[in-house]
Amino acid sequence: MVLKFLVTVVLVFLVTGFGQLAWAFDSNAYNVALAQARKAMSRKDWRDAEQIADAALHAQDHNWPPSGTITEDFVKKLKGRPNSFFALVSLSADAKSHIFILHDESMTDDERSKMKAQIKAYTDVLAQSGVSVEEAEKIQSRVQDQEQLATLEEYKLSLGVLLGYSTWEDRIYFKTSIPTHAILFVPSIGLALNYTNAFYDWSGGVSYGIGDGELKFSDNSFDDHPKVTVVSGFASGLIQIHDSAAAFGAEVAARSVNVNGHNADGSTATTSPTELSALAVGRFRVSKLDLKFKGGMILGNPSALWAVEFGYPLYLW
């Protein structure tokens, strides 16, 4: 009886002991790889770390990496694996997430979706096995943040229509060296190409306007109905302040202005100066409608130009 018991104990010891030794051998391989991968991580050599970790995982389990959805059965089969195995899975997922962030723009769609699927599979293993739920969530949210950022950074091109109203004080030369003082009011219509993402709004376009104002000629005579036409080309850059609802920036514009006035004797005075302006621009967006306020200087003139402008997209690429 005693002998039988002793033999059983010895057999159990031998079996479990060798089993332990066998795992210890595997764990050692994982541990060596883990140490090397961690060194690579500390150097921020994400590719190296990923390759070391994945090679070690694959060497011990030829079905690794898992493909498709991580099921409960799959996770059950991983039960009993040493901690170093899960540490390598975690490290590899971590490294992949950094590679995803760094190379997101240069990856093809196929590469991107493969990488995302792998990160998801690895983090699902960590989460479902209950080994490292927090780490899994952290890595997944890092990938999601990157995807969100990529969406926000993605530029979109659109063509829009503009309706504006501008006023400025001017000095106009009608074939004399003494300037005619002018205050002009011009409604305008135009088209603009907008190249925007969630952070920046770049625009360029043209507009045409017909308006009037007042002229005070060098002989002090006064014309309260000059005809004014303006063809303008502009380029602007705005920084989006809040979810694209508000933006603030600057605009430069080149304007060809044509003024037709009447002298005191009834004769016509015409001139067509070209002017450059530099403006500060603030913009609000209500749904798709843009509302812009502009103010600034016309180079070489003593006063300022002020404008309000509505914009609406007609076509989105």
């Binding site: 003082h181 009011f185 302040i241 967006r285 002020w306």
Partner: protein
């Protein structure tokens, strides 16, 4: 007519920034959230002070130890940099100085001690149901009346009233207050405040009935004029204002006022809208008309449009563009425009710095005048 208004508006310089309607962008549809006076202006409530300290101002001058601690900043926002030693009393004080220059006018630059005020609020019962508010201010003699030989007191009260809120939604306030009309912007030189006689010294004695429930705010204010004034010039009548919140950060409003003195009858109305575009970015619009019928002479109707935009560039730092138009007489040809880009910065709680440029432009079929310019810088301190 246009020239008279133009000159007046240039002389009435100064910006008084107590109430900020652009805080609609933070979801505050009523001034009552932050001010004891439910229609805005005057002393801040404890809540208003803590919001200003934590949300609206930069934190440059706070020590490192509390700079990022909202709770501590809120605790330090009181007059005593802590809790008031007397729980039912709230003292406050403010100073406002203004530098201005009118390029091309030949006039020298000036510094004006525009306003120095001390206020005391006594509050009683739960939720401060009963409040007694008094404010004494130093206000320099207006430039346009300097040298006219008439007596002028530079000390005055701009507010003294008793208020009682019968319910959370309804309160009655009696005493000297601003009139409830239009958007109470801090820039008291705007046409919307000058033409509606809602300037910085246009307070009136009266009774304010205030109702705020859900999305609706209603104010009705019968008034008898400022009792300090001579009786025959006091405007007596009523003003009413309705505001309705149409969205989280959008509110529409309408105002009407009718009053009479021995010299003139005034009727005025306005429509307004204020909307926010994310925190700190806002658009305010007010359109209004005032009709003045003198006892002798023809009536004149003015019209105005007020538009002010604000963009939050950094915590406490905003860019402002104000655009205004007024027609001194809607039956005559001619308008005055004023464009005012500016920068407003609260480097820390208790300090506001502001710089503005005003470009005033006229549009007339009878004469021509160049733009007139004014540059102002303002320091506002409050305790």
């Amino acid at each position: 007519m246009i020239r008279v208004y133009l000159l007046l508006s240039l002389f009435l310089i100064g910006v008084k920034s107590f109430a900020y309607p652009n805080y609609i962008s933070y979801g505050y549809q009523s001034c009552m959230s932050c001010h004891f006076n439910p229609m805005g202006n005057g002393p801040l409530t404890d809540y208003g002070r803590s919001v200003a300290a934590t949300e609206l101002t930069d934190r440059l001058l706070w020590p490192e130890s509390i700079r990022n601690d909202d709770e501590k900043l809120a605790d330090k926002s009181g007059f005593f940099f802590g809790k008031s030693p007397i729980n039912w009393l709230r003292p406050s004080a403010s100073y406002r100085g203004l530098y201005y220059n009118m390029p091309g006018s030949g006039q020298p630059s000036k510094w004006i001690n525009m306003d120095a005020s001390a206020a005391l609020v006594a509050k009683f019962f739960n939720n401060d149901k009963l409040i007694i508010v008094g404010q004494v201010s130093y206000a320099p003699r207006p430039v346009e009346t300097q040298g006219d030989g008439k007596a002028y007191s530079e000390m005055r009260s701009r507010e003294h009233y008793i208020g009682y809120r019968f319910t959370k939604s309804f309160g009655v306030y009696a005493g000297l207050m601003d009139k409830a009309f239009g958007i109470r912007v801090p820039d008291h030189i705007t046409f919307s405040r000058i033409l509606t006689r809602n300037d910085q010294d246009d307070q009136t004695h009266g009774v304010l009935l205030h109702y705020l429930q859900g999305n609706t705010e209603i104010a009705l204010q019968p008034f008898v004029g400022n009792l300090v004034q001579e009786k025959n010039v006091r405007q007596q009548g009523y003003t009413t204002q309705i505001g309705y919140r149409t969205g989280e950060t959008t509110r529409l409003g309408a105002s009407y006022s009718s009053s009479k003195s021995d010299f003139a009858t005034l009727n005025m109305y306005s429509l307004d809208a204020r909307t926010g575009f994310g925190k700190g970015n806002s658009l305010l619009v007010e359109v209004g008309q005032t009709m003045t019928k003198p006892e002798l002479g023809d009536s004149v109707t003015n019209r105005y449009v007020f538009l002010q935009n604000q963009w939050l560039l950094h915590r406490g730092l905003s860019s402002i563009i104000t655009a205004e138009m007024m027609q001194p007489d809607i039956h005559a040809n001619g308008e005055i425009y004023r464009f005012g880009p500016g920068i407003q910065y609260f480097p820390t709680y208790r300090m506001e710095l502001r710089a503005d440029i005003y470009d005033t432009r006229t549009h007339s079929s009878t004469y021509y005048t160049d733009d007139t310019w004014m540059v102002t810088g303002q320091v506002h301190l409050w305790f």
